[in-house]
């Protein structure tokens, strides 16, 4: 895990060259998985709540989701300190936006703001992998997926974090990803009814929890519809 982190500062000890010495990295991977599925009139967002470093669990109950308003939220995996900071920045921007515009920020606007915020730190990036999810102007589900430095795209469903290699192919298979190359352009929304989408997400998390050591403990699930946000919880294995 540490090998893939981008930066490592070491301080050579005085005297001998090969002596053991403390080193530190400004980055850490705290693990965890986030998933979002958009439907015709809903959006399901789920995130595991285990927070770990190396081989140890720091806490079993740490939320990775920041809800701005009933139609927009973000979920982030990666490094917790960067995630917390990013969430603080976006929260503050959202409050300011509401003062200026007298309405909550829409999902599309938040998606662009998140991209700009990430790219702002292009050369010392936030080590976070985000999903921005919610309902768009027409009330359809919207999911935006990002890399760490702000490249983003709107998708029908998305998965980020330590379990993405396990979950993404399942979602691809079950939700029939339309290739962007197919002409005429295909509809990207999930065609599943809400209950089936929630069931699929739960099933995906259970399987990821079996095989990914960083995914476990609990999953918090947020279901966004025109009636507001409903929350659900799924318990995973704790080993």
């Amino acid at each position: 895990m540490a090998a893939s982190l981008p930066m490592r500062a070491t301080v050579p000890a005085a005297g001998s060259g090969v002596k053991q010495h403390a080193s530190w990295s400004p980055y850490d991977d705290n693990g965890g998985t986030v998933v979002a599925v958009a439907g015709d009139d809903y959006c399901v967002v789920a995130a595991s709540t285990r927070m770990s470093t190396g081989y140890s669990i720091l806490t079993r109950n740490k939320s990775k989701i920041l809800t701005f308003n009933p139609k927009c939220l973000i979920a982030s995996a990666g490094m917790q300190a960067d995630m917390e900071t990013l969430h603080k920045v976006l929260h503050s921007r959202h409050v300011t936006y509401q003062f200026n515009h007298r309405r909550p920020m829409g999902c599309q606007a938040m998606a662009q703001l998140l991209s700009n915020t990430l790219y702002h730190k292009r050369f010392f990036p936030y080590y976070t992998f985000n999903l921005c999810a919610g309902l768009d102007e027409q009330g359809r589900g919207a999911v935006y997926t990002y890399d760490a430095i702000g490249s983003y795209e709107r998708v029908g469903y998305g998965c980020q974090g330590s379990g993405k290699e396990l979950i993404q192919p399942v979602l691809d298979n079950q939700l029939k990803a339309a290739s962007p190359l197919v002409l005429p352009a295909q509809q990207w929304l999930s065609s599943l009814p809400l209950e089936q989408a929630v069931d699929l997400v739960k099933g995906a998390f259970v399987s990821a929890g079996e095989r990914d050591i960083y995914t476990g403990d609990d999953v918090e699930i947020l279901i966004l519809t025109k009636d507001g946000i409903r929350t659900d919880k799924l318990e995973l294995k704790r080993d």
Binding site: A9, Y27, D28
Partner: protein
């Protein structure tokens, strides 16, 4: 030359443009005088402060990039009517037991204590920041004081901003407190990683004490039960952490305020049969 914009916060240090409202002045408009009162000339002129960057010949600063005098694990648990924090009193210089009476648990105000592992001079610096904030609260004399969650959040920002400057404060800090009838227990690491939980441990304690806490901790424990659990955890950490000594302090935060105990030792047992005669089973080999 125009002065470089300075942040208000001593935590961020010179040359950092933090948000201007991070630490609002009482008068609102008047810029606050420089905080380092001891270094500021009495005539009111600009303080002459050596910029450490200038000393390092343009290279990044290297001191404080390596921990010198360190403290080991700090443990914390919540219980029925408050929070317990515990640590030993060792300041280790490498593997030398250099300072054996260093108090690593400190009171912030009547609702909050902090405990630190890691570089102890950095901890003293952090305590100075918190004391400044507490002094401000005292001077305002309106009865307000920092809540435990605010102290925790503040330390998160301080440590995170220092890691952003690639000049970290080499600590893991535990914040314990009691506010509005609820116990608070949170921790911050040297790169700003932070979380709250019903029980916590830094460093080695995360491997040795946390498993016992996860087995035995309940949020509705009595003070006696919580103290017994804490003693057990301290003892296990002492047995298996070579950078620790049998001299501990226990801090308690309840609705009645903060108390930090006098240092005490725990009873240990080394007399298991095979410990006394380790060669008993090794007859016939080397």
């Amino acid at each position: 030359m125009l002065p470089r914009p300075q942040s208000h916060s001593a935590a961020l240090g010179p040359g950092c443009t933090g948000p201007s409202l991070a630490n609002p002045t009482p008068l609102g408009l008047e810029p606050r005088p420089v905080r380092h009162a001891s270094q500021a000339p009495a005539c009111g002129a600009e303080a002459f402060v050596v910029d450490p960057v200038a000393l390092a010949n343009g290279q990044p600063r290297k001191h404080t990039q390596y921990p010198y005098v360190t403290g080991t694990s700090v443990l914390g648990i919540t219980y029925k009517d408050g929070v317990l924090l515990a640590s030993d009193t060792l300041g280790a210089y490498g593997s030398t037991k250099r300072y054996k009476a260093f108090e690593r648990l400190r009171k912030v105000n009547d609702a909050c204590v902090v405990g630190a592992s890691g570089e102890l001079s950095d901890f003293q610096f952090i305590m100075r920041l918190l004391e400044e904030l507490s002094d401000d609260d005292f001077c305002m004399d309106d009865g307000h004081r920092l809540k435990p969650a605010e102290v925790h959040s503040y330390l998160t920002r301080v440590l995170y901003n220092r890691r952003n400057k690639m000049d970290p404060l080499w600590n893991s800090i535990v914040v314990g407190g009691f506010y509005a009838g609820k116990p608070f227990l949170g921790t911050v690491g040297m790169i700003g990683t932070s979380y709250t939980d019903a029980h916590l441990a830094t460093g080695f304690g995360n491997h040795l004490a946390r498993p016992l806490m996860r087995e035995k901790h309940r949020p509705d424990m009595s003070e006696e039960e919580a103290t017994a659990l804490m003693h057990e955890c301290l003892k296990v950490c002492y047995y298996r952490d070579k950078n620790s000594i049998n001299r501990f302090q226990l801090a308690k935060v309840t609705a009645d305020g903060v108390s930090v105990s006098e240092p005490f030792a725990l009873e240990t047992k080394w007399g298991y049969k095979l410990f006394q005669d380790p060669a008993a089973n090794a007859v016939g080999t080397w």
